[in-house]
Amino acid sequence: VPEARSRTSDRGRRTVPVILLAASLLCLTISTRSLAGLPEQVGISVFGFFQKGFSAAGTFVAGTVAAIAELRRLRASYDELAAKFERYTNLERGYSELREENERLKTQLGFAEKLVYERIAARIVAKDPENLYSTMIIDKGIENGIHKNMPVVASQDGIEGLVGKVVEVGRGSSIIVPLYDSSSFVATRLAKMRYEGLVSGQGSGDRPIIMRFVKKRAKDEVQFGDLVVTTGYESIYPSEVAVGRVRSMRVLEYQTSIEIDLDPIIDFSRLEYVFAIKAASATGAGTVPQEPSLPPGNTR
């Protein structure tokens, strides 16, 4: 009996430090609030890994099949590009002159300080498995410098436009909510007339995004194709990033504001690569290489 008692107390003694360690860890976790968002973070890290594998396999098969047709297209593209190159060489000369002039005018207008945004390129590897949510998954995460609420932009046809923002971050992948999601809201303004409004999506990339709460007096000035950009009022999105172009307008007599339907600048159906951006530092004018570009015909 004394031997059995000694064995039990031995086991008890060994358990006490383990319990105390666990308790201290628990206290630490609760006191630092490290648990907030942790399950989601671990989940996306684990499943994001498999998702990348699935995406890579799909890309490989699709790429192999497409490679044969691609070769034929390449030949035609080569000839086309050679002709284009010649034209662009001529255009470049004019562009350099315009750029210099732009820098001069900027300096004169007093745009002394501008933020430079650091960009992290990422590839879209998956989309939401359901039709209800419209999230996208990118192949970059915490270890690449991605953080929650980072704005995401993309370039298409030479124009840079807003894609959405990061809502969940894993180790090697992150979830982004696009502009057209019904839970997405962006403070915007008409680039030319400067009227402000709030843009929200309708849950599908096929449908227009809607700019609400625009002053009624803007109805006579708004024109089809007008550019809408971010205001930069929120802490999330930088200013002057292109959001969409005016498609149509609704004027309701009983409301003090108008609603404008916009076509997003980004065609989400062919979106492959995006940039997550974070404010890096302030610098002088003339060193803003990544400033959001405007389409031809629009000037600031």
Binding site: E40, V46, S55, V125, D128, P129, E130, L132, V177, D181
Partner: protein
């Protein structure tokens, strides 16, 4: 039973991963079919309430990690559908075309109802289908059309998922 549940969960998670990565290529008007739902319906109908509910719950949690939906959203939806379908367990003989189509389409509508019931309690925090919107009806039709082929494929490997297999 554990082996069967594990295998079912792995298959369901595989379907979810495939949906999120590959199915964009076969979407109709931007709507992708819900293969994991079809497989879950088959599992629940074939094996009864326990296996379908557990594997549905686990797969739902995995899906929540891959989506911006709140944690537990898809777990609830999948568990409730598995529980509902398992009530029919063994009631009918599943033919090749008609019943799979009905189960696939009705399962999608059941999913929409389950989500609508969640949105009553959680409001804007969860997204729900609009019953007047084309997305729900296209998905229901797509799932219905996909179900006969999926059920046929699954019936070929039925023994792997059978709960009695482990006891034999």
């Amino acid at each position: 039973m554990i082996r069967s549940i594990s295998l079912s969960t792995v298959v369901l998670v595989g379907c979810i991963l495939a949906q999120s990565t590959w199915f964009d290529a076969i979407s109709i008007l931007g709507v992708v079919p819900d293969l994991s739902l079809i497989v879950l319906i088959w599992l629940s109908y074939t094996n009864g309430p326990v296996e379908g509910a557990i594997s549905g719950f686990l797969a739902g949690i995995a899906q929540d990690f891959l989506s911006s939906s709140p944690l537990g959203f898809n777990a609830f939806v999948k568990t409730s559908i598995a529980a509902a379908v398992s009530l029919l367990h063994g009631s009918f003989f599943i033919d090749r075309l008609f019943l799979p189509f009905v189960l696939g389409a009705a399962g999608t509508l059941a999913k929409a109802i389950s989500i609508a019931s969640l949105s009553l309690f959680f409001g804007d925090k969860v997204h729900s289908y609009s019953f007047l919107d084309r997305i729900l009806w296209i998905e229901a039709a797509y799932n219905g059309l996909l179900a006969p082929a999926a059920f046929f494929m699954l019936s070929l490997v039925k023994k792997l998922f059978s709960m009695t297999q482990g006891r034999e």
